[in-house]
């Protein structure tokens, strides 16, 4: 009987003989894991007071998952209500709260923090070869701010909710809604600062903390897109903060800045709101584009076709994204000339997105393509994002938008970008870096299966809504006209498949944290710096500051991609609780 089979008595631990175990076998890894960021410290305090960007990423992962589940539950309720034309499942007032809260939670508490705060936090220092973000304490603070904002919002939800739509259009939100607008607004206001601090941290880190040799054009494309995202966070978020502040003041003290009865202008609110909220769409989808660039390169073992075009298209999207907000207001009584400017720039901003899609596709050419789960998500992303982007052209076209805006066409379009784009990228990224984050592999078969289920469920949910939209079905309708029912039944059926598909990864990710196979430092293999340290990485990421001498996505045989960090044998130490010393 070998030492590995001996049951260990936790009260009287006996040190097994290391020589009886083959080095770096699974048994070895259980008994002698290398010191990494997860096992370096124990106890709840070591997590809540951590300044390690990787641990903060996990804190974010846990919190956004909770909010995703909550937002998803609202989505299911909405789809159930829309199964039949009359409003029979919930009251109209309740339904209005459902879609408002679905929107607020999914946008401000899931999509905006998801990739930047979870994957970005984890990966930015690893990818550029730094020990941590530039301001670790501010990083932790931003998580606490996020939680504080979340608590405010949850308080508003528990106390009766909010029914203004996530867009908070005045004067409904300021003078007519009898719900918890100020509290929920305060929650979003606070959470905004979390987003600002995260973006600030990334910008400074990427500028000042790159490892020697890591020039701008050797950066992984994920870093470029995170950088572009951070620019939007920093430049846009303060505007939504002041806007919400003004809404609250208007509501509490009738300052009249938006209220026409006091000389204000409700359309000004829309300008200020969309100044942030349109670029916010790019906060959600740009990081996904970065993830997809990484995945496509790794799983076709090819350098990204037109690297610099993809890199600069991220910046172009971030910058031009600030010039197009008026396309949300074509029917709002905005000046027709202003509409023309905004429409024109909207078409211009479509180009960098198209360039990205073409470059990803071209990257596959003469590659060595494997169909691992992250790649399925990435390919799904390209297809769905293409659909979402092209339907965006419908909405940017002025005369067309008049017929389509505020219908289900809009709903379908932005879900193709938000779910088909941002969520697919997030799921792909989570699978791709899961071995690095946890040191364990997820079950590949289940991964592929759920990716397909999600893809099918997603399309069934949202494609019919394009048709319903063109037929004229208005959005945010609790009860709708009979002629739209067939499409809505399809959508609800799709939503149940989508919901089921999303449950599967939830289960196997949890399972794999304990039972998954151990991951090698570079399981795929990929080229980024993050793959040259151990899985999971040690607290300071690399044993010594890496010196980068290779270009981005320079694929070489795996033996040549040495691990910068202590070999597992050297760094091993017994699991606490099993030591005798």
């Amino acid at each position: 009987m070998s030492a590995a089979d001996t049951p260990i008595d936790p009260l009287n631990p006996v040190m097994p003989d290391p020589s009886a175990l083959p080095a770096d076998s699974p048994e070895w890894r259980v008994k002698f894991p290398h010191v990494n960021y997860i096992n370096a410290h124990y106890g709840i305090k070591s997590w809540l007071l951590t300044k390690d960007h990787k641990r903060i990423a996990l804190l974010y992962l846990a919190s956004v998952t909770v909010f995703f589940a909550l937002g998803g539950a609202y989505a299911i309720a909405i789809r159930l209500e829309l199964l039949t034309p009359p409003g029979d499942f919930v009251q109209a007032h309740t339904y209005n709260k459902l879609f408002t809260q679905h929107g607020i939670i999914m946008i401000f508490f899931f999509l905006i923090p998801s990739i930047p705060a979870v994957l970005g936090n984890f990966l930015v220092p690893l990818m550029i070869g730094a020990k941590d973000l530039a301001f670790p304490r501010i990083n932790l603070l931003s998580w606490y701010i996020y939680i504080a904002g979340a608590l405010f919002t949850i308080w508003a939800l528990l106390n009766g909710g909010i029914d203004t739509g996530w867009t908070f259009y005045v004067p409904y939100s300021t003078s007519f809604s009898n719900t918890y607008v100020v509290v929920a607004g305060l929650g979003i206001f606070i959470t905004g600062f979390s987003s600002i601090l995260t973006g600030l941290n990334f910008i400074v880190t990427i500028h000042t903390m790159r490892a020697p040799g890591m020039t701008w054009f050797r950066l992984p494309l994920f870093i470029w897109s995170t950088y572009a995202t951070s620019l939007i966070m920093v430049l846009g978020t303060p505007v939504i903060a002041i806007t919400i502040l003004l809404v609250a003041l208007e509501r509490l003290a009738h300052i009249g800045i938006f209220d026409p009865r006091l000389g204000g202008d409700p359309v000004l609110f829309q300008h200020m709101f969309w100044f942030y909220s349109h670029p916010a769409v790019y906060i959600m989808v740009l990081p996904s584009m970065g993830v997809v660039s990484e995945i496509v390169a790794t799983f076709s073992r090819k350098n990204i076709f037109g690297y610099s075009f993809v890199a600069f298209s991220s910046l172009a999207i971030a910058i031009f994204g600030f010039l197009v907000w008026g396309h949300h207001m074509f029917t709002s009584s905005q000046s027709v000339y202003a509409s023309m400017i905004f429409s024109f720039v909207s078409f211009a901003v479509a180009i960098p997105s198209a360039v990205k899609v073409f470059n990803w596709t071209a990257t596959l050419y003469k590659g060595s393509i494997s169909y691992d789960t992250p790649m399925l998500y990435a390919l799904g992303f390209i297809g769905l994002f293409t659909m979402g982007g092209l339907t965006g052209l419908f909405l940017a076209a002025l005369g067309m938008d008049v017929h389509l805006t505020d219908t289900y066409f809009i709903v379908a379009h932005f879900h193709y970008i938000m779910v088909g784009g941002a969520l697919m990228g997030y799921m792909g990224g989570l699978h791709y870096w899961w071995p690095k984050i946890t040191g364990r592999l997820y079950p590949e078969g289940w991964g592929r299966f759920s990716a397909l289920v999600i893809f099918v469920g997603f399309n069934l949910t949202f494609f019919p809504l394009f048709l319903a939209g063109y037929m004229g079905m208005p959005r945010r309708y609790h009860a709708y006209a009979e002629e739209f029912q067939v499409l809505n039944v399809m959508s609800t059926a799709g939503a149940s498949i989508l919901g089921f598909g999303l449950l599967i990864p939830g289960i196997y990710f949890l399972w794999s944290m304990r039972y998954g196979k151990f991951a090698a430092p570079n399981p795929w293999p990929a080229t980024g710096l993050e793959w040259r340290t151990l899985s999971p990485p040690p607290t300071e990421n690399f044993a010594s500051t890496p010196i980068v001498t290779w270009e981005a996505y320079e694929f070489r045989p795996i033996e040549e991609m040495e691990v910068i960090g202590p070999a597992p044998e050297q760094s091993s130490r017994p699991v606490p609780g099993l030591t005798t010393t």
């Binding site: 730094a130 020990k131 941590d132 973000l133 530039a134 301001f135 670790p136 600002i196 600030l200 941290n201 910008i203 400074v204 880190t205 500028h207 000042t208 903390m209 790159r210 490892a211 020697p212 040799g213 890591m214 020039t215 920093v234 430049l235 846009g236 978020t237 303060p238 505007v239 903060a241 002041i242 806007t243 003004l246 003041l249 003290a253 009738h254 300052i255 009249g256 800045i257 006091l262 000389g263 204000g264 202008d265 000004l268 300008h271 200020m272 300071e540 500051t545």
Partner: protein, 233 residues
């Protein structure tokens, strides 16, 4: 600038005890801090920017009302406060200078003077607010308009001018209060001798913040106070 561009000797690196673990050297830490502060300041620009946008819009639409509203403000107090803030910016800059050159005593003196000037600003602001309250010019509490009514002006728009005045100066005053708290920290740590010519980033960053708040006022003063000054004659 990346770490690759930075070449410092080991001795220099280890000399600095204030170096945080994840930075390679003091220079990198200082550059990161400064850049971080500047990025923070542009978020502040955008934060105030929302109010400036509202101001510009409504002023364009209701120019007469805004001029009328402005004529009800106390230009002398506004100008006095402008001078106070400019003085405080000078003293703050000098405090940074003495931190850079390593004079603990002068540093503390100038930080204290800056603090006092900031407090003066707030006191004057307080008197101004009290005056507005006396004149029944506080929209939430007691707004009544009996002042100038040039052609084209309307009371709701004048009331809105006063709202914008209170929100903008209130937000600015809030930033001043935060600045005073920050100066308090700087004074305490300067007194403890924490800041040396090698490590004085907090003083420098505090200075950037203080000057930014000054700049906001430099714009608020003409936009709010001077707009209707010619009406009072």
């Amino acid at each position: 600038m990346s770490a690759a561009d930075i070449h410092l000797t080991d001795a220099e690196q280890h000399a600095a005890t204030a170096l945080q673990h994840h930075f390679d050297n003091m220079e990198q830490q200082r550059v990161a801090g400064t850049l971080g502060m500047w990025v923070f300041l542009i978020t502040e620009i955008m934060f105030f920017g929302g109010l400036f946008t509202a101001y510009v819009l409504y002023r364009t639409l209701n120019a007469a009302s805004f001029a009328a509203g402005s004529s009800g403000l106390n230009v002398k107090m506004g100008a006095a406060n402008t001078v106070v803030l400019i003085c405080s910016s000078l003293t703050m800059a000098l405090a940074v200078f003495y931190a850079q050159t390593g004079s603990r005593r002068m540093q503390i003196i100038f930080l204290l003077v800056t603090w006092a000037l900031g407090a003066t600003f707030l006191v004057v602001k307080g008197f101004e607010y009290a005056e507005k309250f006396r004149d029944n010019h506080v929209p939430w509490l007691n707004f009544q308009w009996e002042g100038k009514m040039p052609p084209g002006a309307s009371v709701p728009s004048i009331r809105m001018f006063y709202w914008i005045y209170f929100v903008m100066t209130g937000l600015h005053a809030f930033h001043m209060i935060i600045g005073l708290g920050m100066l308090g920290f700087l004074i305490y740590f300067a007194w403890r001798g924490r800041y040396t010519p090698e490590y004085h980033a907090p003083v420098e960053l505090g200075g950037l913040y203080w000057h930014f708040v000054d700049i906001v006022w430099i714009f608020l003063f003409p936009l709010l106070y001077l707009l209707g000054a010619n009406l009072t004659h």
